[in-house]
Subunit: 450 residues, 2 copies
């Protein structure tokens, strides 16, 4: 009842987590997330290597296809103007592949924005957690200072005023002891003070890396979009130099696509392992980084009925001490103020301080409760394991589509290029005017050839 | 310090909020969100009417263009085989417009998913708020029942056991009075009990409406995608009947696009007015629906240092009463248990009950604090005013692109259709085989004609 609805691993996490993993000697590796272990690192590197293998195979396939096309071309028929059979098919293939590539780019933009959304959800959850943790520190500091101030000034004045009546002095001393108890208990509640790990720093680092990752993908997507559009333009204008440049660029983007595919696949696999049971890994990591007790970390990371509040004892003791101060002040107001009118001011001031402290105490109880921080933890996990993972899978789809499309384009472009009219009647100076008659004639010629 | 970083209106909200609004008599209407006022409703309806005007104008433009094309056609040159000038340009125009339409469809899918994300963020925030509110109710009920049970059984037993010593009976009676005070104060904290508004119900209604909105948009997007693809197919295959059917479908989708544009624009304008200062509207609405005091609603909706906790008094009183019960039980344990061994069991059981109640009390303090519910409120607002508004603007862009593209297609299709070869040498039976020689011949004919 206390915990808000939390994070559940999605179907994608389960699916990716169940894929078999192997190290470099192809021995199976358990799929628990352990990035510091050599076998696990090897398993992830093997996923990257698979993409390298894919790149190698597709390059070999393209090379074999093109060599076979160049060397085993059927002898040219005597009528030089008639196009070789299958020429139109090649151009249409190329255009269809470019359209698939453009659809892939759309998927890539969507995936990139999803990934970015997930990471920004993670970093805003970290910022909120940082806000809560610093608020606890500040609140404790403020309360302790207020109590110390009251003990130093009002309670000392009161003791001086009441010095003739020993039982009243004893009551004031009792209140002083209780106030000191509260201050001491409170100081134990500022559990994040002096901890070397700052969620703010982590959030800033995550945002910094994500910014560059996002930018890199946007550049890759724009590069591929430009390649697709200029290749289409080159085909439509029958510009040989443009098609040659775009063939080289396609090769570059093909390599980049396979490279990004390897990185995405390895990240998705690692993320699925992390997301299938994040609690234990995060618990251990936080314990190592912060040195906090496991009772506190369990309380915040699990936040269910089974884990008791580690601050319960201190909170209850502070609460009782505050109530005792209240009853002692009421006693003093009843007994001392009628006899010592000068005691009225410090007693009223102490009651005011006590009211403010009780208000702050309720705020502190709310801040210390696991609900708030656990909600941030759940939100960070959902961002990372739902949005980011989904975005990565879309990026993977983009890489697959663009690798397939570019391989087809690379196979088709040289064949389409061979269909262009000979370049000796081609003038670069007229290239920019789509309405010049020569250009239109060439265009109609090409259209009739496909 | 207490409040987490909240919601800030985005630049889009400011921009849309600053657009002038007018009623049916074109008198300016203030842009504060007031959906129950007639002038404001008229201003939104006028936005919808603007889209209707756009539809009318574009239909008139298309009609004038086509009539001019049909009646003022230049006399056909004697060589019947040569295509009329500008024929290729028309077909390419049509293809370019269809590609713009496809890009618009991509934008539309993105916008639809963003809108859906925003609404699901809103409804999950409502579910979390509902969880918190019911948790407060349950916790109060549980604590009151536990205290009542303790008063009925253990404290009665204790009074019976200690009946010989009046001062001990008085202490037990004091504990009973304090427990009754706590129960009474706690019952005042279950502020949501009996409130007729259920966030769960609101979330379910919102999700229900959103599901149909999402589905309607997906169907519209798929319809437009099919129209684009079949129009391209019709142009490529020179199928007259397909082009005619697609002209009619394009007209239908054009009407739907303008209609959806009107709805999106009106919703975006209304949403920007709501989002520019949501607090006061939501406060008034919630006060009307729930009948809760403005102190409670201000506390949760504003949650800053200026608004004091309306439960502070009750919480402090309960806390002091719990501390008093504790000191009375300790007194009884010290005084009574050595003399009356049978008092030990009820005293220990009461201390156990007190400990559990104090734990629950801290949880209640945390649940009642404004942080949790205010965070949900901020998350709901961010979902509605950032994601949903952004999604609506993307949908607006989709509608604009598709309206422009379809108007161009509707202007171009009949002209492209006029360029097709006469239909008497066209056989429907061969229509499905792209490789039959007649078909290829016709295709090459068409290609050379553009």
């Amino acid at each position: 009842m206390g915990a808000p609805p939390g994070y559940r691993p999605s179907a994608w996490v389960h699916l990716l987590h169940q894929l078999p993993r192997a190290d470099f000697q192809l021995r199976p590796v358990p799929s628990a997330f352990a990035p510091q272990e050599r076998e696990y690192q090897q398993a992830l590197l093997l996923v990257v290597a698979l993409a390298g293998l894919g790149l190698g195979l597709s390059l070999i396939f393209i090379a074999v296809y093109l060599i076979r096309f160049c060397c085993c071309r059927p002898p040219e028929p005597p009528g030089a103007k008639s196009p070789p059979p299958g020429g139109g098919c090649v151009t249409w293939n190329c255009i269809a592949a470019l359209l698939v590539g453009c659809a892939g780019i759309g998927v890539g933009f969507y995936g990139n924005s999803e990934t970015s959304d997930g990471v920004s959800q993670l970093s805003s959850a970290l910022l909120r957690a940082n806000h809560t943790l610093t608020a606890i520190d500040h609140l404790v500091l403020e309360m302790v200072e207020r109590l110390d101030e009251a003990v130093r000034t009002e309670l000392t004045t009161l003791e001086e005023v009441l010095t003739q009546r020993t039982e009243l002095v004893a009551a004031a001393r009792g209140a002083r002891r209780q106030a000191e108890t509260v201050a001491q208990q409170l100081q134990g509640l500022a559990f994040w003070r002096g901890v070397p790990l700052s969620p703010l720093q982590v959030a800033e680092n995550v945002s910094f890396v994500e910014e560059y990752r996002w930018l890199a993908y946007v550049l890759l997507l724009l590069l591929e979009l430009l390649v697709c559009l200029f290749t289409l333009l080159g085909l439509a204008r029958q510009s040989k130099w443009l098609v040659i440049v775009m063939t080289v660029m396609s090769l570059l983007v093909l390599v980049l696509s396979w490279g990004s595919m390897g990185l995405e696949a390895a990240t998705a696999v690692g993320l699925s392992d992390f997301c299938s049971s994040p609690d234990s890994y995060i618990l251990n990591l936080t314990q190592e980084e912060t040195g906090l007790g496991s009772d506190i970390l369990n309380y915040y990371f699990l936040c269910n009925q089974a884990v008791s509040n580690p601050f319960q004892q201190r909170l209850t003791l502070s609460q009782r001490a505050l109530a005792n101060i209240h009853s002692q002040l009421q006693g003093l107001e009843r007994e001392a103020v009628p006899q010592f009118p000068s005691a009225q001011k410090p007693v009223l001031s102490l009651e005011e301080t006590l009211n403010v402290t009780e208000g702050s105490f309720h705020q502190l109880v709310a801040l210390l409760h696991c609900r708030g921080l656990h909600k941030d933890y759940g939100s960070a996990l959902r961002g990372l394991c739902e949005d980011t993972l989904e975005g990565l899978l879309f990026l993977l789809l983009f890489s697959l589509l663009s690798a397939g499309a570019l391989a087809t384009v690379l196979c088709s472009l040289p064949r389409a290029w061979a269909l262009f009219p000979p370049s000796d009647d081609y003038e670069d100076t007229d290239d920019d005017d789509p309405f010049n008659p020569q250009e239109s004639k060439r265009f109609v010629q090409w259209q009739s050839s496909i």
